[in-house]
Amino acid sequence: MHEITMTVNGVPRTASAEARRLLSDFLRHDLGLTGTHVGCEHGVCGCCTVLLDGEPVRSCLMFAVTAAGHELTTVEGLGDAGGMSPVQRAFQECHGLQCGFCTPGFLCTVTAFLRENPRPGDDEVIEAVSGNLCRCTGYQNILKAVHRAAVLIAEEDAQ
């Protein structure tokens, strides 16, 4: 067992876990942050995507011990005291989710993407989410939501 400490959504968190404990399980079951989902546990679906030092990573492909000392953001930490983040709001506005199981992974992926590329074109948006599976929405409204989020972020920055 290892004492593992990491900063999750701005708060230092510690729990003990075996070396083989996946980061996804650590977040979900040791820290109780069940917003991060597990759809395949082999790195393909993207449901488990979280931000590690701001970069999207698949938490099912990483051991919790490896993430020790790093800054993590999960879906629970995307919004702030003011409420949902622009990306989150855009997903609701555009009906970018149905069952919601894939959604946390998309939200983390898109949050990082729009930070890098605040004014993406259509192809860039498709490319950006092309590593995340969704079985419900057919992606149409997810793509719309990404564009909408870019607009919301720009509006927020302008204020």
């Binding site: 404990r21 979900r28 506005e93 009906h95 149905q98 069952c99 199981f101 490319e127």
Partner: protein
């Protein structure tokens, strides 16, 4: 906010929770529970000769290991055969844990319970099961040859055989001026929700009651099944479907072995136990669908009118038949689509194979049926050299012919009678939407550029909202909050939104005051389940009817309080008022207080309902009817309501790589009155994406030994955003005359015609007959080679049409 919300594209009310990580899916529950893992068969067909658990015993944290021999009484009996159709003469179901023989890879053999899943898997890995392999039966042809049997006591591997006939099809075909005969194949795919199955059970020893959470499409029926298996009165069993991460059919099957075993062990050990399916388990031990072979014979006249249609179907139902033969029954009946078939004969044989069980996946046999009928329409058009849409138009049921009786028995045992629709108008609009009549120019232009494009179209009719019934309960509390519950479950369809829209519109209350609970047997114990595009039709109407009861009661009580005739009252924004007299009103929350005559006052509100506060006659009892401003009602339709739609696509095929690119995809559909157009559109999008997967990418690849070779997301190719084209949608609204709200189901529609459309468009682009789906670039490439060598058939159009249509494989595309 307006209360006239029915039909508005409002944003979903479940989203804020799901978007912020506050959803509660199965594996989010039961933090401290023990966890289960299963040892599953690595063989497709084998006899178990020994199970040695010795090696597992030293695993620290191990709590229990169970094999079939440990299962008492009904727990150890075969799982129920849920839909015992009389034609299913040789139905067989599995034991919850294999007894003696395993019949597919993934069948559970040993259950392990440990402190957590890691430890449970450690223990499972050390359990040694000795098998004596038996020869497996894999694939429809192998099953039909019946040289080997899946079940010793099922001759010919045939579980069921069913013939339905209207008129004399063989005779009509024999005397028809034109006859065609061909074979069509569809391969296996699967629902594949991103959340797998899962069960979490806790036993309350003091209360002798059981609470079970399951990621299911039918919590009420899981409850009855568990109660029966464990010998508990149903009132001592609660089953709750929490947030469910997609279902698409696979989660309607119940009880899964795990749904029996986990609650059983939880009670036995008096500990909370949870099992969360992993992805590989989902591939090899949940359910698949789609695999069918169809032999079609059709006779028609010079206009392409069907005179006789004879279809023989071989259906692969896997190793067991817990869900009966619903899929081939639906194919047999829904194959007819919007057409009048002349005489029709359909016969299917449902076959056992040593593979995962087959149960409905979104569309449930309809994609295969539509593939059959629409490929037939295209063949007829090609044979006669007339436009493909003209053949369809020649065969449509006409708007004046409803209700139209197809003369068959549908999946619910009721006659197949179409309630409403306007197919000619739908075809006209579909052609307009895709630009059917202008396509010739577009093709010519593309050909000049050395590009190969094709267009296809397909029509479907979908029986939705099958019975027997659903119910709804509506209660307005003394705070003015409206609590709605229905027994059927949700898997992401937006029920919390659409049922709230119906309620707000029916009652005249702000939607913010409405909360909806689904799939929780504590709130509503009677339900059938979520499948067959039935939730909106069934529960939607039941809730509307319950609302009407509550409304009537509210008006009666308000009428007494306001000394007004209930017929002169209306409810606006949660307030009952006299029409045209805004001063004379009473809020629903006060009506709720008055509806429950009290002896005891516990706050200001309830003080108004005590015996001394309410007046009334001393000669009548204080309570009329039942207390509480609540009502319950049920909706039970005489038969299904039939939605319809037409999809069209333009595809481009790469002359070199044989890659298929969908350039345009249009959907026109009619599901009656729309409760929330945005949600309906989302359902269509999701369905089309699954359809594209089924047409171009997804298949279950079994080898001869019965090993599923692509049991991971790495190898089973579901579409990402890059694979799904932009989907252009249009709606028509032909209300259903069968239900109070005039609605028809929409959940499955999107997926149904996609394989037929894509096959038609590829065939049109290539000039080579496409009779087998899905089709990968490598298959299309080989089809080209076969066409070259004469082994694959060209269309007549291609034969009479010179290059570039017939440009052979390997010949480089000329790009000008």
């Amino acid at each position: 906010m307006s209360t006239a919300l029915f039909g508005e594209p409002i944003a979903r009310r479940e989203d804020p929770r799901l978007i912020t990580g506050q959803g509660r899916y199965l594996d989010d529950l039961g933090g401290g529970a023990l966890e289960a893992a299963f040892v599953r068969s690595p063989h497709a067909h084998a006899r178990i000769t020994d199970i040695d658990v010795g090696g597992a015993l030293e695993i620290e944290g191990l709590v229990a290991i169970y094999t079939w021999e440990d299962l008492p009484g009904r727990v150890g009996e075969p799982l129920p055969l849920l839909i015992p159709h009389p034609a299913l003469t040789h139905g067989r179901t599995a034991y919850p844990l294999a007894r003696d023989v395993v019949r597919h890879v993934g069948e559970p053999v040993v259950m392990v319970v440990a402190r957590d899943r890691y430890l449970a898997e450690d223990a499972a890995e050390r359990i040694r099961v000795t098998y004596e392999p038996l020869p497996p039966v894999v694939g429809i042809e192998d099953a039909a040859r019946a040289e080997r049997l899946v079940h010793d006591d099922v001759p010919g591997n045939a579980g069921a055989h069913l013939v339905q006939e209207v008129g004399d099809a063989p005779g009509a075909i024999a005397s028809a001026p034109h006859v065609l005969e061909f074979r069509l194949d569809i391969e296996r795919s699967a629902s594949m929700p991103l959340e797998g199955r899962g069960v979490y059970a806790r036993w309350d020893a003091d209360d002798e009651s059981l609470r079970v959470y399951s990621s299911t499409q039918t919590s009420t029926s899981v409850r009855m099944a568990i109660a029966a298996k464990l010998g508990l009165p149903p009132v001592k069993v609660e089953v709750i479907a929490p947030d469910v991460g997609g279902g698409f059919g696979v989660k309607i099957v119940h009880p899964w072995p795990e749904e029996v075993l986990v609650p059983w062990a939880a009670r036995l050990l008096d500990r909370e136990i949870k099992w969360t399916e992993d992805r590989r388990e989902h591939f090899v031990s949940a359910a698949h669908e789609r695999a069918q072979v169809h032999f079609v014979r059709v006779g028609f006249d010079d206009e392409g009118r069907l005179l006789g249609l004879d279809v023989r179907i071989q259906h692969d139902h896997g190793a067991y038949t817990p869900y009966g033969i619903i899929v081939p029954i639906i194919t047999s009946t829904q194959l007819l689509g919007p057409y009048k078939p002349g005489a029709y004969r359909v016969e299917f044989t449902s076959l056992y194979t040593n593979t995962v069980i087959v149960t409905p996946y979104r569309g449930a046999g309809r994609p295969q049926g539509v593939f059959c009928m629409e490929r037939t329409m295209d063949r007829i058009a090609d044979e006669l050299g007339i436009d493909r849409t003209a053949v369809r138009a020649a065969n449509f049921v006409q708007p004046g012919e409803f209700p139209y009786d197809q003369g068959l028995v549908f999946q619910d045992g009721r006659p197949l009678i179409y309630d409403s629709g306007d197919y000619p108008e739908m075809l006209r609009r579909t052609k307009e939407l895709i630009g059917w009549d202008e396509f010739g120019d577009r093709r010519a232009e593309a050909e000049r550029q050395g590009r190969r494009i094709g267009i296809g179209l397909a029509c479907y009719v979908e029986g939705t909202g099958v019975g027997p019934y659903e119910g709804g309960h509506v209660e307005i509390d003394s705070g003015g909050r409206v609590h709605v519950s229905t027994g059927l479950t949700s898997q992401g369809q937006g029920h919390q939104t659409v049922f709230a829209q119906i309620t707000a519109s029916e009652l005249g209350v702000p939607i913010e005051d409405v909360t909806v609970t689904t799939g929780d047997t504590r709130r509503f114990a009677y339900a059938v389940g979520t499948f067959a595009s039935r939730a909106a039709v069934m529960s939607g109407n039941a809730i509307a009817l319950a609302c009407r009861k509550v409304r009537e009661k509210a008006l009666r009580i308000a009428g007494e309080a306001l000394e007004a005739d209930p017929r002169d009252l209306e409810i606006v924004d949660g307030v009952v008022r006299v029409k045209g007299d805004a001063g004379s009103s009473i809020p629903l929350r006060t009506v709720a207080v008055l509806s429950n005559p009290l002896r005891y006052a516990f706050d200001e509100e309830t003080r108004r309902a005590t015996q001394f506060a309410v007046g009334g006659s001393a000669d009548t009892p204080p309570l009329t009817g039942e207390p509480g401003l609540e009502g319950e009602d049920y909706y039970s339709p005489v038969r299904s309501t039939f939605a319809c739609g037409m999809h069209a696509a333009i595809v481009e095929t790469d002359p070199d790589t044989a890659e298929v690119c969908i350039l345009r995809y249009t959907v026109l559909h009619d599901c009656g009155r729309l409760i929330n157009p945005r949600i309906v559109e989302g359902q269509i999008h999701g369905g089309v994406a699954q359809g594209v997967g089924g047409a171009l990418y997804e298949r279950m690849v079994y080898d001869e030994a019965g090993q599923l070779l692509n049991a991971s997301f790495m190898d089973f190719l579901m579409p990402y955003a890059t694979e799904v084209p932009a989907i252009e949608t249009g709606h028509m609204e032909t209300p259903s005359p069968l239900n109070p709200l005039g609605i028809k189901g929409a959940g499955e529609a999107g997926v149904i015609p996609v394989s037929a459309v894509i096959a038609a468009a590829i065939e049109d682009a290539e000039g080579i007959r496409v009779s087998r789906m899905p089709i990968s670039p490598s298959e299309l490439f080989h089809l080209r080679l076969e066409a070259e060598s004469g082994a694959a058939e060209l269309t007549n159009r291609a034969r009479s049409h010179p290059a570039p249509l017939r440009r052979a494989a390997g010949e480089a595309g000329v790009r000008e």
